[in-house]
């Protein structure tokens, strides 16, 4: 069976596991959550109450398999129900508002950090003992620091004190979102500092990983053979060493996507950035169960999809994987 098809099946299994966890957790929790919610949000209609009960498995609304099945059907139609804390908005509409913010900012910042980190890693791996090797422990310090810590300090110093950047938010309050320059420039302006903190916090990790992969690759016989062949240095570095080292590096990128998401959530909390992470926090603090469930699913599916994209890229880049892909 082709490699890609197998990966797709794997991601479907993972998605199913996530769905099932999502389904069973609220039912497994102690205490009567429904009462807690009702007391918090007195203006819910009886149908919302019923839906909540159905979600939490309270009050015998049919066999568990029946509930599971209707849950799966709902999810496949992207019907996540009505929201609780911002009633009567639908969960899907809330998601639709916040997802674009997260994807553009986090996506761009992560790709930039990966590119810079990988480039630095190539240099550090090629020149042992250079200045990059000396800088590395310092960069690791930035990475070991809790991300929000670094973010808050930078926010305080650069935005509040130095007034170089706006202080959080996605765009200047009062502007109406839309495709006009005022709004877009304001959005860009507000995304600079958060993006900057993401890059600073994650560059060291990518650099260290690429450096290690480069060192291992440089030790391979074919790099020595390339040297013995008298090939020019740039060819040895790029086509023989780097091209091979990129493959494990890309795989590492795929594995690290979960951490990218974590960073994104925290960044949005620190900067009050109107993305899906901030929405998740608000949902948790207000016990907005339908929203929590939906956000978790959306985030998980996005990560699975990104992993699949990375797998496809690797198949294109590595002839050995292509061979496995074509084997029937």
């Amino acid at each position: 069976m082709s490699f890609i098809v197998r990966r797709v099946i794997f991601y479907l299994v993972a998605a199913w596991v996530a769905l099932t966890i999502n389904f069973f957790i609220p039912r497994a929790m102690p205490g009567n959550a429904v009462q807690a919610i009702m007391s918090k949000f007195p203006n819910l209609t009886p149908s919302a109450y019923g839906a909540l009960e159905a979600m939490l498995g309270v009050g015998h609304p049919g066999s568990i398999w029946h509930q599971y099945w209707s849950y799966l059907v709902n999810v496949s139609h992207l019907n996540f129900g009505t929201d609780v804390s911002q009633y009567p908005a639908s969960v899907s509409s809330l998601l639709a508002q916040t997802i674009p913010w997260t994807i553009t900012l986090v996506g761009t910042a992560t790709v930039i950090a990966f590119a810079i980190g990988t480039a630095l890693g190539i240099m550090a791996g090629w020149r042992r003992g250079g200045w990059l090797d000396r800088v590395l422990p310092g960069l690791m310090f930035f990475q070991a620091m809790p991300y929000f810590f670094l973010a808050l300090i930078l926010l305080e110093l650069l935005a509040v004190r130095a007034h170089l950047f706006p202080i959080g938010q996605g765009y200047t309050g009062g502007l109406i979102p839309g495709w006009h320059w005022d709004f877009i420039s304001s959005a860009i302006d507000h995304s600079l500092l958060p993006a900057f903190t993401i890059v600073i916090a994650s560059v060291a990790g990518w650099m260290l990983q690429m450096r290690n992969v480069m060192l291992t690759t440089i030790g391979e016989d074919y790099v020595l053979a390339a040297q013995a062949k008298g090939l020019p240095d740039h060819r040895v570095v790029w086509t023989y060493a780097t091209r091979n080292a990129l493959l494990p590096q890309l795989q590492g990128f795929g594995l690290a996507l979960g951490f990218v998401v974590s960073g994104a959530i925290i960044m949005e909390i620190v900067f009050s950035y109107p993305g899906i992470g901030l929405l998740l926090l608000n949902a948790v603090t207000s016990n907005d169960y339908p929203l929590m469930q939906a956000i978790f699913l959306v985030i998980t599916f996005a990560v699975l999809l990104a992993n699949l994209i990375v797998d496809v890229i690797i198949v294109f880049a590595d002839p050995r994987a292509r061979a496995r892909e074509g084997a029937r």
Binding site: E220, L224, K229, G230
Partner: protein, 351 residues
């Protein structure tokens, strides 16, 4: 006689570590002439690969060349070049064009992400001035040279069989018409039938194109058929060198004798396989004098103070037949036989 194409003289290499230096190669002399096959034989760790790669300055940190000279004078060269004094750029031009290497494991020595044609073109473009079309034609003709179908130009290394990969390596080595081809155990990873095939092909190409071969192996039996001259290496030093006929018929050094008795002959009388007891010494703790002493049936206390220089074997017909052991000569009977030969007697007295 024309000068040697590659003259390695008094060559020494160490691996520097915080615990001290590992003397991998010590004061080795070796010469290669055009169109000849010189075999370099030794156990793993004897330093034969270090010698060959070191002569091309291909060893990586922490290797350090501590002495000697490596002079190259190919037929294309106007004057002899001292490799140990060359600048990096000149060395790069010298590599492959003049001295090529066939590596031991072709699977590891070929770039996994490039196809055969691209790897051949890499080598061609690095050293020869040719139009794109000419280079492509040359790449195709190189595959013809080693008997691989042209369609394989588009294959990736993992798509080829072991024998085919090794032949691609040979084709790549011959791409720029080198004067010296160093073959580092080229057939060790292959099965016997393919081995035979490839070796025949190598000899045929050598006869046709006229390059010299430095053939590194741990298998002495192979060299007896293949090589013109043989050098025996142990613990970083040469112990014996001479023509293949001399080495096989009149071996002087005890180690060589041990190696010869370690494999059965298809022809000739049956005899007991002896092998050599013990194992090679730890390169970080080399004893003074002859490193082979602990495993040598002829060894005496005098062996700890010899200087390991190579001296001609008096009884040999070949003036180039040299040995490092001043005590044992061709014709010295093996120590197991009871005789009154002085060397054997003192060996017996020690045991």
């Amino acid at each position: 006689m024309s000068p040697p194409i590659l003259a390695i003289e008094d060559f020494s290499v160490v691996y520097r570590s915080p615990d001290g230096d590992v003397r991998a190669v010590q004061q080795v002399n070796l010469e290669l002439y055009a169109s000849e096959v010189v075999g370099l034989v030794g156990e793993s760790g004897s330093g034969k690969s270090t010698l060959a790669y070191g002569a091309c300055r291909l060893l990586r940190a922490p290797a350090l060349i501590t002495g000697g000279s490596v002079r190259y004078q190919g037929r294309r060269a106007a004057a002899p070049m001292e490799i140990l004094r060359m600048q990096a750029d000149d060395l790069r031009r010298l590599r492959w064009r003049e001295i090529a290497i066939v590596f031991q494991s072709a699977m590891n020595a070929l770039n996994p992400v490039l196809n055969v044609r691209d790897q051949l073109l890499d080598v061609i473009h690095a050293h020869l001035r040719m139009s794109r079309q000419d280079a492509q034609d040359k790449a195709a003709s190189l595959l013809d040279l080693v008997g691989i179908p042209r369609a394989r130009l588009r294959s990736y290394p993992h798509e080829l069989s072991g024998g085919m990969r090794q032949r691609v390596m040979i084709a790549m080595a011959l791409a720029t018409d080198p004067e010296v081809v160093i073959m580092d155990e080229p057939t060790t990873a292959l099965d016997v039938v393919v081995q035979r095939d490839i070796l025949t092909q190598i000899v045929e190409l050598k006869d046709r194109l006229g390059f010299a071969i430095l053939f590194i192996t741990h298998d002495l039996s192979l060299l007896l058929e293949l090589a013109d001259r043989i050098a025996v290496m142990y613990a970083g030093r040469l112990l014996e060198a001479g023509t293949a006929a001399e080495i096989s018929g009149e071996p002087a050094h005890p180690y060589t004798r041990g190696l010869l008795h370690s494999f059965p002959s298809l022809r000739g009388a049956r005899r007991d396989l002896a092998g050599i007891p013990g194992s090679p010494p730890d390169p970080q703790n080399l004893p003074p004098g002859c490193a082979f002493l602990p495993r040598c049936g002829y060894g005496t206390e005098r062996c700890t103070s010899i200087d390991m220089s190579l001296a001609p074997v008096a009884s040999s017909a070949d003036p180039g037949h040299v040995t490092a052991c001043p005590f044992v000569l061709p014709g010295t009977p093996p120590p197991a036989e009871p005789t009154s030969h002085p060397a054997a007697a003192s060996a017996g007295a020690d045991q």
